[in-house]
Symmetry: D2
Subunit: 135 residues, 4 copies
């Protein structure tokens, strides 16, 4: 299941090359990931209240074309792997207008205890919701 | 007592007008404020461990001249008022090279309980250190 | 005429106090200002192509209540003054859910030549559109 | 030749998990890259004045340990490949205090014409300086 969410590029997202600063796409992967979880019925806030955080361990991205101020982007997020300890996603960020792919990427996140930072096994109530999204 | 700290402008601090995005100066006031506290012998981390946070309630700034990528800036922070409930600062951000003033500003912060968000009276051990800096 | 635009708070907008970092509201005033111009029929890109930039000279803000991750905010932008050389706006940023006002603010921007940085008189084609919005 | 530059973590670099937001490390790779160029005798500003920009095409990072507010970090940048069309770097970001490695990463950047965005061959005056750093 692919999750999609739009983002309207702000002036403050640009840099002196008059394009979106590349680090912002890494932030927008997070928007995609959070939207995916939301569509699965999970919010980061709910996880945190249960003492679970979901830190990123790996990210990679290819920057194919430049985004600009005022572009409307579509962030596509696809789950690629899920265990009770970790979850991986692929991303594509496109210009809505003409579907140019600006950036592709991949992240891996782990489920950890908020207090100790140690990796944990995700409780079933969350795992089942995520697993249902990968079928 | 004026506190001074340097900041080297990064490429990611610029925007498509090829100058520093104005919102960054508001962030750099925070660098100045934190440096002032450090010189007074107080770290934000220590305050937070004591259940105290120091949120901002008011900010104003005048943008007089434009900073650019690779500029070395000096952030000057001057305390202007202190009670056990709040503290105010004036700021100047200058180009180190020629002392051009880029931005002037003012903030007011309050001491609050981290858990409840309610305004508190700053414990004496901190208050005395700050008061000594205003003499 | 009040312009309104929504913003969904991202995880990366928060800080270690578990609230929105205050500098982001200054960025979101820009979202409001850009939306206001868009509703007037003007884009920053079009202005820049005509050699006009619209830098900020003054900002002030009061932080009344804390925004948090996942809040849906409404940015309200009201023009308060317009001449051919400058324009001022008032802002309110509210939580959509219960209309709590988180932040109020004010900015002044000037119309300048992109190349020289000198203040200019805004061409009539733009001025008329903005003036129509203040009536 | 490894280039090293320090960065003092600011409060605004943290997120609601009370650690540095991961996207900031991608920004700090840029600080490392710019410092490397500076040590080679090249500034981004000089390149841009010559009509050359140096956009990133690929980034990857592994997040091994969490940085926190007030940490002093060391950004280590090592060139790994250089042609007249592109350049690659490895990064390590460490805590200065105990040399814990927080993040490792890799980027590839290309030399392009600022106006057209097309890949170019880097002029000899720059290439020689960079090549000297890889010996």
């Amino acid at each position: 299941m692919i999750s999609r969410v739009e983002y309207h590029v702000n002036f403050y997202d640009t840099d002196a090359m008059e394009v979106v600063h590349h680090s912002n796409y890494i932030r927008w992967f997070e928007i995609g990931r959070v939207e995916f979880l939301r569509e699965a019925g999970i919010t980061l806030g709910e996880l945190m209240d249960d003492g679970i955080v979901f830190p990123i361990t790996d990210v990679s991205a290819k920057f194919l074309s430049r985004g600009r101020f005022d572009d409307v982007l579509v962030i596509e997020t696809t789950p690629t792997a899920l265990t009770k300890a970790k979850m991986a996603f692929d991303y594509r960020i496109l210009k809505k207008e003409d579907e140019t792919v600006l950036v592709t990427g991949h992240t891996q996140n782990v489920f950890t205890h908020r207090e100790t930072g140690k990796i944990m096994r995700l409780p079933d109530k969350y795992y089942k919701k995520l697993a249902a999204m990968l079928e």
